[in-house]
Symmetry: C2
Subunit: 395 residues, 2 copies
């Protein structure tokens, strides 16, 4: 049995590359950028008026002039006009090109305009004020967004600005999620006394949706020849298979044998952790196989603790390890890494994690009352209030 | 000019109700639950075996018996069987019903099975161990998920388990996002020297997508009769109109007049904040109108600081105010609330916010390098490293 650290190391070292695709920029939120985004011109592309008001030649103001005849209007979206007489001014609008022969903008709040003459009501102005100068935010061909950035609303604005209507992003893996277990029936069915409804596959679909990964689902009965036949096909067709159940010591836990017979290279089976000890991980040349233990919390936390980092590594993004302060003392005797469910609270800039003890790894409903798992290391048994540990958020 | 606190108060007091709709549960991630979810049976619905192994009658073990003949197998998904002879045992699989006449499970790791006899290799076992007892996680008709919960992967699992294939959620508002400004051209176009491409509407579309709100977009030229005609139609057709631009003092900033002529009740215009001072907010009986100032950062932060809380209030969810520790000293003289862009780092359980000073509210590209805004109050001018303030995350 290997440690969580060793398991994660193996998982990260086996990251895949799913290639690149080009998609409409407006569909790219949450995806990982696979090209550099350059400025297609200076930003701003011209000396841009940043307040509504009047534009003047500062030298006149400096010489004591306060009243300026309005010579014209420079609207946003109009071609640049030219101040003909240095003693006059031009009314200018936010977003407009600064008129030729002007270099300073006084906002309407500080001006009185009467009978076509603008009188400046303040005595201190600065040359160049209220002008967003050409190229101040970025020069032509500057890199505005680096490769491997996760695209958010902020990046969407920049992509629009530089005219990238299509953008190269990491292709998503093709994923099949498989449940096993003869006790499972469909969500629409009424289970018999000894049956329960399928839930883990839908939880996994939703966890993958958070990463913008579409997925398919299937259920296979606990019958070894059928399992083998179906999985053989899936291994050829998908980049990733996620299983829930059938990886432990039960008489019908056929998956490890089936994987072996289908030449899935076992990278590990069993990790020193709670929940989710019987976790299996293996690969073929083209497919990564995550065999999550079937208890709901086990499947859930293993997906977050292993599949998520594997995906991030595969698409080339680095993520910060979040941490939180333990809000209550915890005692945990087994020498296993303990993924403990917690409720998070933001208190004075600190993230405080309050443990919520459910009824073990089968207690799916307890996930509703928590936000994250705090990861308590295996080499200690007492964890004090105020100590800081890594967390894995799921909301 | 009102304060940020007053503005937010007015916005929250004018929250709308968009009604309720019923959708497939698997499509409900990110939506707000509008019914209580009850347990349709006890959870677990039977005394559930939680480890693969053998089930016995504990009294026999207590009496000193260590070798138990295997009488049968209880698989997951099979009807409950009965132990016929108390001196025997039954092999049981995780997820199976505990067989009649047994009350304790010993996992395979602690048992040797040879010639049909299971010998227990440990001397300490507890009555009832490795059994997840009926109803331990929840009783029939218990509330498992409260109304007004934001649905995540955790809730999806519970919905599946109780057979809620369709679920009632808050209907989303019908939103139109409108840009104005004659300097704007499409993303696919090559702008002339004095033009720039539209970007704010796409940023807003993406910010709404984070809330799972679909939206439509339009562009209207700076022509008052056209603006009035189009907006009159939108006010009737949509729950929310988001505008970007044309709310300040410019000669072509027609929106406030148009709103007045169309009987949009002005709830406020101008807020003591930077960026985004000229923010307009108003309502008709059926439509809320957010007039965001047109500078990119102004539109962005106003959507987060006002539209988001308004939406949360409208659909009935409460959100915690996140806070962060200022990582560097900041000085800001104007008596305005300052939404300052920051890069966040998680350090020892603390969230530390490092200010990134862009080139003003027009500098869209600077959003790429930050994660959040820290909200510095208007009644101070010096903000010290280590002080804690509210933050608004956008990643």
């Amino acid at each position: 049995m290997i440690s969580v650290q060793e398991a994660l190391h193996i998982v990260l070292n086996s990251a895949q590359n799913f290639g690149i695709e080009e998609i409409p920029f407006i569909k790219s939120v949450g995806r990982i950028l696979k090209e550099e985004i350059f400025a297609d011109r200076d930003f701003p592309p011209f000396n841009r008026v940043s307040m509504d008001g009047v534009a003047i030649d500062f030298q006149q103001f400096k010489n004591g002039q306060r009243a300026f005849r309005v010579e014209g209007i420079q609207a946003a979206g109009s071609e640049q006009i030219t101040l003909q007489n240095a003693e006059n001014c031009i009314e200018v609008m936010t977003g407009a090109v600064l008129p030729n022969n002007t270099n300073t903008v006084i906002r309407y709040e500080d001006v009185t305009i009467e009978s076509g003459v603008a009188t400046i009501n303040i005595n201190v102005i600065n040359k160049g004020q209220n002008i967003h100068t050409k190229g101040k935010d970025g020069k032509f061909e500057d890199i505005l967004i680096s490769q491997n950035t996760k695209i958010s609303a902020a990046e969407i604005g920049v992509l629009a600005t530089v005219g990238k209507s299509f953008v190269k992003v990491a292709r998503q893996p093709k994923v099949m999620i498989v449940s096993t277990g003869d006790e499972l029936v469909g969500v629409d069915e009424i289970p018999l006394e000894h049956q329960i409804r399928r839930s883990n596959v839908f939880t996994l679909v939703s966890l993958l949706e958070r990463l913008n990964i579409p997925s398919e689902t299937a259920h296979i009965t606990d019958d070894k020849p059928i399992l083998k036949f179906k999985i053989e096909g899936y291994l050829k067709e998908y980049d990733v298979l996620l299983f829930s159940g059938a990886v432990s010591k039960g008489k019908y836990d056929f998956l490890p044998e089936v994987f072996e017979e289908l030449s899935v290279e076992k990278l590990f089976h069993k990790v020193a952790q709670r929940p989710g000890k019987p976790f299996f991980y293996g690969q073929t040349n083209t497919c990564s196989v995550f065999g999550f233990p079937g208890n709901p919390i086990s499947t859930f936390v293993n997906c977050l603790a292993y599949f998520y980092p594997w995906y991030y590594k595969s698409v080339g993004i680095e993520t910060d390890q979040e941490t939180a302060v333990l809000g209550e003392e915890v005692s945990f005797k087994p020498s296993l890494t303990y993924f403990l469910q917690v409720k998070l609270e933001s208190k004075n800039g600190k993230l405080v994690a309050f443990p919520i003890t459910g009824n073990g790894s089968g207690d799916l409903a307890s996930l509703v009352y928590t936000d994250a798992f705090i990861q308590l290391p295996s080499d200690k048994t007492e964890f004090k209030k105020g100590e800081v540990f890594p967390i894995i958020k799921y909301r």
